[in-house]
Structures are given as C-alpha cells and as structure tokens.
C-alpha cells in the first residue's frame, strides 16, 4: 500500500512468518522475519476462508495457536502459495 494523503492504510495487515511443520503437517515452530522464534504449544480453533472467488480467489487456512510463554497468535496458510502469515487475533 502506498503512502499519501489520499490513501487508506489497512490495519492488521498480515506479517509473513516461517512455520516449521512436523511429519503430520502440524505447525510446531513459528519464526518471525526479525529472527524471533517461538515453539507452538497447542493449536486451538482452525477455520478456513474462501473469499473473492469472483476476482483473485483468496483461500486461507487459519489456526489459533498458543506459543511458548502463553502468548496467543493467529496464523494462516495461504493455500494458493503455501506461505504462512501471522495476524493479530480479533
């Protein structure tokens, strides 16, 4: 998104992260771009979003996770590209 007085800046834009998966495909570690790495203690709710099928389809698998230290994070996998992102819980 470009800067400028006539531009909106989206809030809660997803941040790309690196997620390590175990043999069953379950996320185990999440690494931020800053190098900060956290182990995933447990996975809570999971849900899927399919949206904007009429334009550029958006297909995401969301996971609500508890990381070491008790922090709550929302991760999602872009099922079209296989990339992982973190987003603030809402």
């Amino acid at each position: 998104m470009r800067n400028g007085s006539d531009r909106l800046r989206a809030l809660n834009v997803q941040q790309q992260v690196i997620v390590e998966l175990d043999a069953r495909g379950t996320p185990t570690i999440v690494k931020r771009e800053t190098g900060n790495e956290k182990r995933i203690e447990s996975i809570g709710e999971t849900w899927r979003i399919d949206d904007e099928w009429w334009r550029v389809p958006i297909v995401r698998r969301y996971l609500e996770v508890i990381v070491e230290g008790g922090g709550r994070m929302v991760l999602f996998e872009d099922l079209k590209t296989g990339e992982w992102f973190a987003q603030k819980p809402t």
Partner: protein
C-alpha cells in the same frame, strides 16, 4: 477562489457534435469506426443509449434492450459507458473553444455556445472566426463516423465552410436559438452562418421540430396546419398566446426571431476536489457511501470553499478494468451541510450503482453560490462551538507535529469493511489532516 463576473454575448456560435459519447469511444478505439457500435446507457446498462449509423442501419435504436439490439444485429459491438472520459473530452473541447472566446456556455455533452461579440477584431469575418473554432476543436480529435461520405454543400442565404473528417457542426447567428438551429442544418465539419438581418428568413424555412416543443404542443400545431417556423410566425402573436399560454408566446417569439438569448459565460471558480484510492477495489454500497461522506467532509474543509455554498457536486469513480462511473447533482438550495450534499449522491448510487468494483473515488464541488450558513460567531449551541474549538486546537497540534517531524503521524481509524471475513479489510487508517 476566483469570482468571475458573468460575461454575455448576443452573437453566438453553436458548436455541436452529435452522439458525442459514441464519438469519444471511436476516437479512443478507431477500429470501431467500421463496425456497428452501440453504447450502453450510463443509468441502465441493459438498454442501448447511443447507436452508430451502421448499427442504426441494421435496425438498432436507442432505448432498445441490449438483447433486442443483438438479436437485430449479431455483429453489434456494445461498449460500456465511460462518463468520466466523455466529461474529460468535453472539458477539452470547452478548453479549446475557450482559446477562441472567453464567453463559453456548455449546453449539454457535445453542445456548447461560443460568444462571438468582439471577436471580429481578433480573427476577422464570421467565416474566419468559424474557421478558428473548427481548427481549435479539431485538436480534440472528434472525427466523423463515415469520413468523406458527403459532398460539399451549396449554401443559399448563408455561407458554409468545411473541415474534412471533423464531426463538429457549427451554427452562427444572433442569439443561441438561431445558432442552434443553424448548427442542426450544418453537415459534419461544416458551418452554417446566418448573417445579421437574415434571421427571420432563415428561421421561416425551418421545420417546427426546431422549436423546443413538447409532443402535445407539436401535435396540436400540426393539427392547425403549422409545419414551419414561418407558418407559426405568420399567426398573430396573441392568437398563439390564447391557445398555448405563456409557453406559446415564447415559441412564437423564437419562431419570429424576436428573442435573442445571449450566450452567458460560465462563472468558473476552481473546483474543489477530494479523492480516495482504495487499497483493494470496493463494490459494497455502504462502504462507497461512507467514502463519499468522508470525501465531502474533506472537501468542505478546503479553505477555498469559505464564503461559498456548494451548488453542484459530482462524484466519479475509476472502476476495475478501466471503466468509470459518474454521478452529478445540482442542489436547488446550495448548501454546506454534508447530509444535504451526500443525499443526492446516495440516491444515484442506489439507482445506478457502478458497474464494477471501485478503485478510486473522487468528489468534486464544481459550482458554488455565494454566502455561507456557518458563522461560528452565531453558533446556536455552545456545545457545538466548544466542539469546533477543540477540533481547531487538535488540527493546530497536528499541523505542528507535521511541521516538526516532516510527516503526519496522526491518523483516524475508519471502518472500511467491518463485516469482511479478511481481518486486514475491516479497518484502516487515514491521515488526520485529510
């Protein structure tokens, strides 16, 4: 804001490009010139709005449904309307005409009057002035559909000029009505000049349809055996008035060449523009209404608006895939209240929404009336005055921060699509000072 006085001129040149929006499309896509083309309506895209001669030859008529039109002419090339583009092209034409005369009065898309009083000192004879108009407008690139398909015209009481391939028809005469009728008699690229004193003779030969008549009056006049303006003017004025009332008097006077409606130059204060680019195209009506409201508030804050009430408000949108949308409203009572400015745009948004998702939305105040209803000194309620004071203080603080840090770090949080399933689409920040 510039306060241009009204400029008027009895001498008029009517510049007319019929089917202006369709010609804008053929100018943009020259390959359309050899195809049967129709333009969908800006208010109802299921109906045909304008039709090229080739499509008309195949039986397609304005007002038909698109399916009827395609049934009649399977090769029909249907274009989506792009009103913003047509508006921009017409503005170009007006600007080109403005190089010839300072008195320009736009009548409708594709038709404008040029005030000609005093131009002879600059350009010479009426023929030379018309030539100047044609040369200037030729730069706008409006060409005829079937180039070279007509023969040079022999004039009778009026002379004619000809610019090959141009779609512009020029009518010259005293007053807007005579010049308009002359323009309707001109062929594409040509001009019809009605010399001073010849108005009566010129008008007498014109058909009744040249008058601005409703269908009922037209039918009644034809039943009375009146076929031409000359026949109407030959009737006693009072007899026409007794049959048709005040409207009849005006028709009789127009037909007899007794009315000279001057060209009135536009009062042209600089338009105030506020724009918003969405980070992802938006199709929801609620969000567009919200954005229009935000832009109206922003445009109202423009210091140039001070002392003026808004008379004409226009919203335009750039859509996905290059299309556009335009809504314009003229307020009977000019206003500075955002609700009153927003209401007509909301109605138009509801009635004829954009044909696609909106990428950029622009609100323009294009005409103003003097005076303002917002004098803080006389604020009726103290709370409102206090709120205004706080807002002013906040604005001053924001400006100071911006000056010190060279960038604005204060934002409003606004709802964008609070119902969206995608979290990043729900809320956004916008600069505080916008």
């Amino acid at each position: 804001m510039t306060r241009t006085p009204h400029l008027t001129s009895d001498g008029a040149a009517c510049c007319w490009i019929p089917l202006f929006p369709l010609r804008c499309e053929t100018a943009r896509q020259p390959e359309l010139a050899s195809l049967p083309v129709a333009l969908a309506g800006p208010d109802d895209t299921r109906r045909v709005w304008q039709v090229s001669p080739l499509a008309r030859h195949a039986g397609v008529k304005p007002g038909m449904t698109v399916s009827q039109a395609i049934g009649l002419c399977p090769a029909l090339k249907l274009c989506e309307p792009d009103p913003v583009h047509y508006d921009a092209q017409f503005s170009r034409l007006l600007a080109a005409l403005g190089q010839v005369s300072p008195v320009i009065e736009p009548a409708e898309l594709g038709r404008a009057y040029v005030g000609t009083d005093g131009l002879e000192r600059l350009f010479g004879s009426p023929q030379q002035i018309v030539e100047e108009i044609q040369m200037r407008s030729a730069e706008c690139g409006m060409r005829n559909f079937s180039e070279g398909s007509f023969a040079p015209r022999n004039s009778h009481i009026h002379s004619a000029l000809r610019i090959p391939n141009s779609a512009l028809r020029v009518g010259w005469g005293r007053g807007k009505f005579v010049s308009w009728v002359a323009a309707t008699r001109a062929r594409p690229g040509e001009a019809v000049i009605v010399q001073p004193g010849d108005e009566g003779r010129f008008l007498a030969a014109q058909p009744l349809a040249a008058l601005p008549l409703d269908s009922d009056t037209h039918r009644r006049l034809r039943q009375l055996g009146v076929r031409t303006l000359g026949a109407l003017a030959a009737l006693p004025e009072e007899a026409v008035v007794s049959q048709f009332g005040r409207a009849g008097r005006r028709l009789w006077r127009l037909a007899a060449g007794r009315i000279t409606e001057p060209v009135v130059g536009r009062v042209a204060p600089e338009p105030i523009v506020a724009a918003l680019t969405f980070f992802s195209p938006v199709a929801g009506r609620e969000l567009l209404e919200l954005a229009l409201d935000h832009l109206i508030v922003r445009a109202l804050k423009d210091p140039r608006r001070s002392g003026w009430r808004v008379q004409v408000i226009r919203a335009r949108a750039e859509l996905e895939q290059g299309a556009s949308w335009l809504a314009e409203a003229t307020l009977k009572d000019p206003s500075v209240e955002r609700e009153r400015l927003l209401a007509p745009l909301k109605t138009q948004l509801e009635r004829s929404p954009p044909a696609g998702a909106v990428e950029r939305l622009v609100v323009e105040f294009t005409a103003f009336a003097p005076g303002t209803a917002e004098l803080q000194l006389f604020a009726r309620d103290a709370h409102a005055a206090a709120r205004a004071g706080r807002r002013r203080a906040l604005r001053t603080a924001a400006q100071e921060i911006k000056l010190r840090l060279k960038c604005s770090l204060l934002y409003h949080v606004i709802e964008v699509q609070p119902w969206s399933r995608l979290p990043e689409r729900r809320y956004a920040l916008i600069d505080f000072d916008t």
